[in-house]
Symmetry: C2
Subunit: 257 residues, 2 copies
C-alpha cells in the first residue's frame, strides 16, 4: 500500500517545506508515483511549486472540511509522476471548523484512503506547530521525517515531538506512525556550532539520524522563487545531490520497516 510520510517539526524554519518539496521531487524522478500534500495554511509548498495560493479555489481545506474528493483538488507539477494537493490561508480555518467534529484527528486519514491506489508515496508538509492539522498529518501517516536545523534551539523540542508520535501510536489504533529519521539541515562545515550540534544529535538519537545531511545552500532558497524544485532549477549542485541521496536512504528505510 501507499506509504504516507509526514515532514514535521514544531520548530519554525528548520527546512520542512524545502525537504518535503525536494524529497518528493527526487522520489518522483526515481520512478515513484508521489503525492506532495501541503498542510500548512502558509501554502509554502504550493507557492514553491509555482502556484499562487490565493488564486486557488480547490484546496486541502475543501478536501478536509467541505467534503471535496481529493482527486478533484490535485494539481500537476514540473516533475512527471509528482502531483500536488495544494493549500492556502483557508486552511487556517480548519482549527475552528474541525473543533466539534467527531474524531477530528482522523479526518485526513479518511481523505487519504481515497488515493491509496493512485500513488506509491504521499509526502505531507506540516506547519510549525502540534495543533489539529499536524496531529491529523501524524495520525494519517505511516512514517515521520523530522528536519533538524544544526542550530542550538533545534534540540529543544525534539523529545516532545517524538513523545507525541509515541502517544498517537498508542492511542489511535490502527495508527502506526513511526519516526523514519531525523535529517540535519542548514549544515555549515565552517562553524563549530553546526559541528557541535550535529555531534550532539547523533549522540542523542544514533541510528535515527539519516547519514545524508543537507548543507546550507543559497540555491535551495532561490529555487522556490522560480516555482522549481532544486532537482530542476540546479540539478548539478550539491543541494540537488543531497536530496537524491536522502531519497535513496528513505527508500532503503521504508523497505526495512
Amino acid at each position: 500500500g501507499m506509504r504516507v510520510i509526514a515532514v514535521a517539526n514544531q520548530k519554525g524554519g528548520c527546512g520542512k517545506t524545502t525537504t518535503a518539496v525536494n524529497l518528493a521531487a527526487a522520489l518522483a524522478l526515481m520512478g515513484r508515483r508521489v503525492l506532495l500534500m501541503d498542510l500548512d495554511p502558509q501554502g509554502n509548498a504550493t507557492l514553491g511549486l509555482g502556484y499562487r495560493p490565493g488564486r486557488l479555489t480547490a484546496t486541502m481545506y475543501h478536501a478536509m472540511v467541505k467534503g471535496y474528493d481529493l482527486e478533484a483538488i490535485l494539481l500537476p507539477t514540473c516533475i512527471p509522476r509528482l502531483r500536488l494537493a495544494p493549500s492556502n490561508v483557508l486552511l487556517a480555518g480548519a482549527e475552528l471548523d474541525l473543533k466539534g467534529v467527531l474524531g477530528k484527528e482522523l479526518v485526513l486519514g479518511e481523505v487519504l484512503r481515497q488515493t491509496e491506489q493512485m500513488f506509491d508515496l504521499c509526502i505531507i508538509d506540516c506547519c510549525p506547530s502540534l495543533g489539529i492539522l499536524a496531529l491529523n498529518a501524524l495520525v494519517a501517516s505511516t512514517d515521520v521525517i523530522v528536519p533538524v536545523q544544526a542550530h542550538f534551539y533545534a534540540l529543544e523540542g525534539l523529545h516532545r515531538l517524538l513523545e507525541t508520535v509515541h502517544v498517537l501510536r498508542r492511542r489511535f489504533q490502527p495508527c502506526a506512525v513511526r519516526p523514519l529519521g531525523l535529517v540535519l539541515t542548514f549544515v555549515d562545515e565552517r562553524t563549530s556550532l553546526s559541528i557541535e550540534v550535529r555531534e550532539g544529535i547523533r549522540r542523542a538519537f544514533g541510528q535515527l539520524v539519516f547519514q545524508t545531511v543537507i548543507h546550507s545552500a543559497i540555491a535551495l532558497a532561490e529555487a522556490p522563487r522560480h516555482g522549481q524544485t532544486i532537482l530542476t532549477s540546479a540539478p548539478h549542485t550539491r543541494a540537488a545531490r543531497e536530496h537524491l541521496e536522502l531519497a535513496k536512504e528513505v527508500l532503503i528505510r521504508l523497505a526495512r520497516t
Copy 2:
C-alpha cells in the same frame, strides 16, 4: 504607561526569538526597565537566556491558566533592568485550557496589567502561528514588530498578519495594537535573492520597514548556546551594533505614536 511590543510572525524561523531577546537586552542597556515575555511553548527565549525550561515550576502557563501573580514567575537575567517571564512546554496546554474561558483572547491583557508600574517596556516573543497564544499577545500589545527573513517564502504571510492586526484593533475595543515596523533579518549582501526580497518588501511596505537590518551572522546563533544575548557574548560585532541601532529606532517610533 508601559508599552507592550509583540514580536510576531506565523512564518517559522524568521528570527522572532533572536530579535525579541536581543532587542530587549539592548533597550535595558539603554536604561529602560524591560520585561521579556516568552509566549512560545518551545521556551526558546527562556533557553536563550540560560534557563532550562523543563526545570521551571512557575511559568507563563501558571500566570495565564493557574492564576499565579505575574511577579511570582519573573526571573533575573544577565542584563541589569531586564527580567524574564519564562515558558516551557506546559504552555502548549493553554490552547485547550483556555478553550471554554470567557474572553479567552483577553487573558494575557489582564495578566499584564499587574506589572504596569514595574516596567517601561514589555517585549513578547510569540510562537510561529496565529493561534490563541499569538492572539492573546497581539490583543494585549500596544505595538507589533514583525521580523521578515530576506527569503522568498517570507513575503507570503505578511499581508495576512497585518490584516489580523487590523481586525483585532476593530473588534477588541480598547485594543490598540499597531504595526511598529517590519525588520529584515538574515540579510546577506552577497546574494541577489536577499537584495531582491529587501527591495520587494520596501516597495510593498515603505516606511513601515525599519532602516536597521539584521545581517546573517553566526554569532547570533551561537550566543544562546552560552545563555547570553549578543550584547554580552559579542558586544563589538555588527550583529550587536545592529540590535542597538534597532533599539534606538524602536524608541524613536514609540515616541512618535
